[in-house]
Symmetry: C2
Subunit: 219 residues, 2 copies
Amino acid sequence: MAKKKIGVLLSGCGVFDGTEIHEAVLTLLYLDQQGAEAVCMAPDIDQAHVINHLTQAETDETRNVLVESARIARGEIRNLAEVTADQIDALILPGGFGAAKNLSEFAFKGPDGAVNNQVQQLLEAMITAGKPIGALCIAPATVGMALKEKKPLLTVGSEEGVIGAMAAIGVRHQLCTVDDIAVDETHKIVTTPAYMLGPGIKDVAAGIEKLVKKVIALA
Amino acid sequence: MAKKKIGVLLSGCGVFDGTEIHEAVLTLLYLDQQGAEAVCMAPDIDQAHVINHLTQAETDETRNVLVESARIARGEIRNLAEVTADQIDALILPGGFGAAKNLSEFAFKGPDGAVNNQVQQLLEAMITAGKPIGALCIAPATVGMALKEKKPLLTVGSEEGVIGAMAAIGVRHQLCTVDDIAVDETHKIVTTPAYMLGPGIKDVAAGIEKLVKKVIALA
């Protein structure tokens, strides 16, 4: 049987301005351990900004989301613009602020901000094709914004502000421990709080492994 | 019992000019799963260069090893200059070209190149204190250079050029599969080939988990 191809949509390289690195690597680990093929992708756009991860100060640098995401993917990455839903069996979005700064404007403008066009199109195409979507940490907020018409069920951790923002656009929220997943069986959307709850890498790993297995099972 | 504190010496963030991200994250995962505390550290120096990981071309950017390493450590990282051997129970060096470009000059000048002074001092202090050292992928080359007087036993994968370079400075080499470790019991040095062999993340994960367990057992 051919390996299932699971898209992994990255948003940079680093928790404060890009993809949360641990969440992305653990996603890749569990996909490989489950016999699936990861198809890494990212949009070819500038990051919203660059954060010095030592000081948390914004810098005056400009970095490209696709180029920085390639660090996590060891160079094996595709331009999101060239990926279509028929090429993959499922799509997973690791978290990190990049998922809410570069893939959408959630971190800056809340749930009424825009979703990146390419991200929006691919998420809609996956839903239309009945293919599963997984999202970790804050990434479910962007998924919720893109698919709000569907009133999806998802988890974004336990912060009242984030939960309220989802409720404001009709997204249904489910509280969930870090080692567990929320499953919207109707829309095949699987989410886990990851570092929205933490606290440590072994804790988020448990939920991510469960998410990867469920996404593959639904694919 | 207090958690064992295991130093994790990073060298940037990305396989071609810094730390190999998967190897670092898997090291952090297995340390946490084994109940050890990771103490991430990196030198506060400029990277030897910056590589665009999408094109593999060198760029004209300047990036700092400590600042970029902080991306992997989610900001929880110490300046190597301020870390002493009495503060940690063992030290692990993930691989990636950064370990042979930023921690030493191995990638540019071979085994006669210099080792970063702070790296040299900490490695010597660990050996003197009888505390274990773990090294992944190409990082054992830098460990071998720093400790060549000891004629350590280690693995650097299967590339003849790298093995020959180690032999030239008196380092003893042991071939080792990616899911296994080479152990120098005398000096408490544990090494695994990781992405020197690969091919995939689940393969390197097996060797890294074994390395982490052995390093903790020796600490």
